[in-house]
Symmetry: D2
């Protein structure tokens, strides 16, 4: 699927929040950062500022900008593990499914997966993967990796995070959180980024899906884990030479809580979409809508019809579950047009 | 060193070509690419266009955008090697010295280094590192990695490249070229990018030091080496989700050969600087000036004096060699002011 | 559990076939190989002889001795994969569970596991893990790894192997077979080693569990996969300097088909044990007995009672499944004594 | 070169101390260990005994048996390093030259080499490789690896070891010692194994070149480094299932200090050989003889003549340096015959 920029405007994509472009304020910030020289590799005032802002926002020990979400995840678990140690994560975790084996190659570790329909790990699910501790034949579970918002659009509550953190500390496990859509979780839960990070050792804070051009931050909460980060970031090919341009994106998102407004808006659009299709024949919500994604089981014929005109992905081929994502730039009109399209197509099929 | 953006303008940095900002045309192109949706991960018209442009410019089999120069180098040699195979490179190669062991960790291979005062490898220098072929106890040399422009500012001539390529083919070696400053080589040699790549299997083409915000291209010339690139790029955490913003930078640089004009200008500024300091007491050119860098041996006292006011690095502590880099945005006035400063400081010392 | 060598003889262990010692003929062969000098690293007549014998026995392209089963598995899949490629294997595969993440660290690859109660993979189970081929975000399945005899004592029939091989070839997958107990499979199926290897690309042939002191052979059937083996073996720290002592063990096992007699005997002892406990209350065979292992679900109280006197392991804590292994040196009296012990303990519990 | 075992006895090899077979006492110990069952993977009395013996001999925190010297080196440095950290070692170190890049692949680290004609590192040579500490672009030197006896047959004095250890502690470096021929160093220096290990964090103690069939011990002196060893050993494919047979070899070597007698004898034979060729025209000793190796520069024609009848290797092609190794089983007659051969050949050439 390619949308030619010169063509008549295609309908808004519901395929991914990274189909969206860059928020104008971020683009503006890039222009403003384009003033003369700046020392390379982060020794510049933009990086200093964004780092300080994020450290304060999260109450963090260390902040490290990287290029994409896969890198944030891999670098994050690199800070925690030796190769014979393992990460417990959800079977559907981005880390496990969508990173082309980066963790295995770069960290050399095994991922111990747990099936979980709502994308969330629980102390019980983690416990089930802790077998073999102390046995030299077995990888040694050392970290738990969760995703907030999960890959299926659900959110851990603060209480769930707290319990998981407590469980980890009680079991000598470190807790990593993939926050590619952390802003959307904060918006849904109505809490601060610090609240979300309170029980976490290391997490990522995603800029890209929130309106950045391409920038992620690795946030180290546990002070004992920050020491190796700058070296591992470089070794993992994530050190930007003109780093001011990563940092400036974050400062733009933090200015007047743009990150939160973007996330609130995207969440509201998903809510509007979910409400709009509720009761439509052949459409069944598959997950609670707790962020900017709507997961729905569709009549297969409906999928086929809709994909002729609209851009979105099939999440689960067997159960005919589709994923509809909204972004900071999805408008009410975009949603309403899509809802109309869905209703019309559903009507045509059932007719 | 940090240059506060709000302060009275600091003198132009001669510390690195990545202290410079982004060329206005590149910034403009980013704004123009910010039109509505685009499919993520490179399935978009900007990526298609820049890929086609670069493929034509080089006569390449494959073009793959990555985030930085270290990544281009590591991904490039990943296409060529199994872990027990080795890369012959210059002792001072960026790959060897400045990438925090990325090749060893990510590719798992050994680098076999050769000392070379002018930064260039020759068939003889490579031959000296080919010992042990066929011996299972020894790593097996499989690739040669060169840098064009070299780390000390010199350029391989087309004839030197041709001979090295011939040598490699005759010896079952693949030839990789780190082209972080390839534009400057083309400008110096007065040749095309295709000319530079003619004997090469895989190379990088650097955008960042040429005026991009942050974008490098891996160019695969040897068609048998392209097949694994997309998977290895993802696994090596180099797949940009909003890839249009990497691609658009390259299209901007290719438009009306901006890349060449930027490089020619930077080279001319280095030439002007070198000419300006010729004959100054306490200043001795250390390498021929064949690109946008001036390497000079300085009286240690002069280094100390100059660094109080000017930004540049000491390349070699023992021989008191400094590196002065120019960029697309270095002006004649910048150079002349620096030359005056050098002359004044030199005069004060010798007085 | 430690059996002091000077104590009154402990009852025969049913804990593992590697609790057994070395077959006297193997020990004798080591003595015979201890004649004067031999060139190191395999350039010796013992290695030449054992290599030729195994190559003929299997119809193999390459034979490479290594130290243990984990190494054979890891080296084997190293011959087949690049790091972004993946291996489909059973969830309970030794490669996945019992090798402390060696494949992930050494090969850098992901294992895609399939749940299978009888330890066997089928074309259908493999098919279920082939999702995402061609998608750069996903690891690319490239090899299938099976175990013959499986970890739960079952054997693939020759027809099952043939079908799996056909399936792999039709789907561009390579087929690896962990043959740590391959001799027991040959004994059970009444077939040759070549029959077992006919559909396989690379396999291991285990000496250690068959009466060797410690020696495994990696057998490369697919001639296109042998070229990197000697280098990867060395790099993976598996090149024995006095290799004659690995080779001589294999020659001893091959002499008059000692390997087959050892396996037939161990299998018969398992059969005898299974027959002896059939119908005993609190004992339920859990897997068909197709090799030298008996897997049985036991009354938990019975497990506890028996383990006070006998050495064996619990395979599955939740289902109270135990694993009883026999070896080349397990005698009928050993089995009968164990059966009596089981019957007595079971009687005491049910009484 | 292959010596057929059935042929008329070839002359003793001076090619390597691992051309020798197994000492009869070691072979006997293997037979004695072959008594009934023993729990696998080292939970057996032989392993307990040899471990305790070595721990006492060295004053060690941990003792871990592995299969070969490459494995001991790689496992040893694995205990000390994260991948972005580096090892300083001699250019000619076995770790660097003869292990097919195992350190790079398995540990992922870079080796920083220093040229040293006598095979020994000094604080100054190490200091020269410590550049870039704290600089994220550079690998971070964290360990120093030395070899005792060095690859060219020389020994560090206890005072040299003490000074190097002090230097390492003062510079936050860990000190690893490859002791493939440690016994020969103890014999030459007239000191205990504990003396040799006093300044060392982790070292190997080689059995194989001392008369074992194939067994090396990794000795961890620094108690903070032992914790990960059992897991890394397994993950690095070095856990022997029938470990009693590795352990028993060491107990045999430790019995009545057989290891020392073997080493003293081999050293004496090298001394005898060196004395025998002193003054022979065309033969020039190249290194002091401090162990069981004689390194001599020879007239090229002499090398050619001698290699027709005798087994030995050329160490340095350019300088025509040969390496003559003696072993525990080299006899005075073997040496005298070789000396006669050398004298005769030299005479024929000069005549």
């Amino acid at each position: 699927m390619t949308l030619t920029p010169s063509a008549a405007p295609a309908p808004k994509s519901f395929g991914s929040d990274n189909h969206a472009g860059t928020h104008p304020a971020v683009l503006r910030a890039l222009g403003e950062a384009n003033r003369g020289d700046a020392t390379a590799y982060g020794d510049d005032p933009w990086t200093a500022r964004a780092t300080a802002q994020l450290a304060e926002e999260f109450g963090a020990s260390g902040v490290f900008f990287v290029f994409n979400g896969t890198a944030a995840n891999v670098l994050g678990i690199s800070l925690m593990l030796r190769p014979y140690e393992a990460v417990v994560c959800a079977e559907g975790a981005h880390l496990n499914v969508d990173e082309c084996g980066a963790a295995e190659r770069i960290v050399g570790c095994k991922l111990l997966t747990a099936a979980t329909p709502d994308g969330k790990l629980t102390p019980q699910l983690v416990t089930d993967r802790l077998g073999g501790r102390g046995d030299e034949h077995r990888v040694q579970p050392r970290a738990v990796a969760i995703t907030q918002v999960t890959e299926v659009g659900t959110c851990y509550t603060l209480e769930e995070l707290r319990r998981l953190g407590e469980f980890c500390r009680a079991n000598e496990l470190l807790l990593y959180m993939d926050g590619a859509r952390l802003a959307n979780a904060a918006a849904f839960l109505g809490c601060s980024l610090a609240d979300l990070a309170a029980s976490i050792d290391v997490l990522s804070f995603g800029g890209t899906k929130n309106g950045a051009m391409g920038a992620e931050a690795l946030i180290v909460m546990n002070p004992s884990l920050a020491a190796t980060a700058v070296f591992q970031r470089k070794q993992q090919m994530q050190l930007a030479s003109k780093m001011r341009y990563l940092a400036a994106q974050f400062s733009a998102l933090l200015e007047d809580r743009l990150w939160l407004r973007n996330a609130e808006h995207a969440n509201a659009m998903a809510r509007r979409l979910a409400d709009g299709v509720t009761g439509v024949p052949g459409v069944q919500l598959h997950q609670p809508v707790e962020s900017n994604g709507v997961f729905a089981a569709l009549d297969p014929e409906l999928i086929e019809t809709l994909q002729r005109e609209w851009t979105f992905g099939v999440w689960d081929d067997r159960e005919h579950v589709v994923r509809w994502m909204t972004a900071f730039d999805t408008t009410e009109d975009d949603v309403d047009a899509f809802v109309s399209g869905i209703r019309a197509a559903a009507g045509a099929i059932t007719a």
